[in-house]
Amino acid sequence: MVFQTIQKVFQKPSYMLIALVTSGAVFAFATWLPNIRLLIGVLGSPDIAFSDKLELPINLIGSIATNFTVLAASYTIAIAILFGMDVAMVVYFLRRRIKDAEQGEIATGFLGLGSGVLGMGCAACGSFLLGTVLSLFGASGILALLPLKGKEFGILGVILLSLSVYLTARQIQNPAVCNINN
């Protein structure tokens, strides 16, 4: 039933477009993140041609094949796809003006994205963002204790986003209605 609900949502081109655009944005962000300084430096330089400024972000997307382990690339792609689906389904859900529903699953989706982003990183440097965040508190060594050096958060992100998609589909499937008693 949940699968059929998902199918129903994505039969509409507009929601497929929302999902694709959102997934693309998340995926691009993930590949650009390790070189955000390079991107800013090139995009902000007056000495670099506009064509080069357009070309660099495209070139950096190729890093999914070079700068990620198989596991990290897999959950990065999964997170991008799931988040795109999640956003499209939430838009579908909200457009139907179903106000009387639990919104925990929506929050779950964003927490899933947040968890996935924190888990992004490379094998050598561990979890990139999480290490950065933890280092603010002098706790970056915690990552070294984890078996996957922080990539657990990426896996957690996939789980949370999958859960969010499932819950949103359930919610779409079973909208809250006011019974009319005859």
């Binding site: 070189n35 950096l60 990139f128």
Partner: protein, 254 residues
């Protein structure tokens, strides 16, 4: 969940209405939290001070110099291993650890193309800078590297590549002194002399290794592989197209 509001006693209570209103804030709140986390992490990763790598520190690490912007003209290249024409118009500084798997990827997928297209055509010189931080085998390899450069600079790149060919998991097998000297010997380099230098000049070489790492950190290198081309840093094992684009931009500026 279905609600039957046909009877007054089934109408939502004030508390329930308040609860639902508070639930409606969960979405924007979750968005704000995620956005602040991500933005904060990006901001602080760009501006954090040197020395914070979250990995095993190098032995005898010196106090790093104060942070400076990435600029190849300010990189210390004197006496460092390099390949290419010494007078090439573009110099690339490349920081690496011999146990880093992503350095191995760069070594095997980017460097051959880069060398063919730019080094052999005298457009680029690549200067090798140590960023040995992944354990004892990394430090040992760094010492051997300096010794090889001293006695057999013409075989440096061959040796450097062979080291990555042999790379296994971090500190888990191949890579101790005996292994490295055996590999060195197999390439026709005097491994006895290399071993002697690794011992007699250990302090000097280690100082140079630590200085390279500190310099990289001061310029914004946060991990390996890290490359400076012009005033830009390439972090991680990026596709060859990224290196090519930055080199071409730098060449155009010459």
């Amino acid at each position: 969940m279905e609600h039957d509001y046909s009877e007054p006693e089934n109408m939502p209570s004030h508390a329930e209405v308040v609860q639902r209103q508070s639930n409606s804030y969960m979405v924007p709140l979750a968005i704000v939290i995620a956005g602040v986390l991500i933005a904060g992490a990006v901001f602080f990763s760009n501006s954090r001070s040197s020395g914070d790598l979250g990995n095993a520190p190098a032995q005898g690490q010196q106090q790093p110099p104060s942070a400076q912007a990435a600029d190849i003209s300010k990189v210390n290249i004197a006496g460092h291993p390099f390949i290419g024409n010494p007078n090439a118009p573009v110099t690339i500084a490349y920081w690496y650890d011999f146990q880093c798997p992503f350095c191995k990827r760069t070594e095997q997928t980017v460097m051959p193309q880069l060398i063919n297209e730019y080094v052999k055509t005298d457009k680029v010189k690549i200067v090798y800078k140590d960023f040995q931080f992944l354990g004892e085998d990394s430090q040992t390899a760094g010492l051997a590297e300096h010794a090889v450069w001293e006695i057999a600079p013409d075989k440096f790149y061959q040796w450097h590549s062979a080291m990555y060919e042999k790379q296994d998991n971090e500190n888990s097998g191949w890579g101790n002194r005996a292994d490295i000297l055996a590999l060195t010997s197999s390439l026709g380099i005097d491994s006895t002399k290399v071993g002697q230098l690794m011992t007699s000049k250990a302090t000097e070489y280690q100082k140079a290794i630590d200085a390279d790492k500190a310099e990289g950190i001061s310029m914004g290198i946060t991990g390996t592989p890290g490359t400076i081309i012009g005033k830009q840093i390439i972090e991680g094992a990026q596709p060859y197209s990224v290196f090519k684009q930055l080199i071409d931009i730098t060449l155009q500026g010459k």
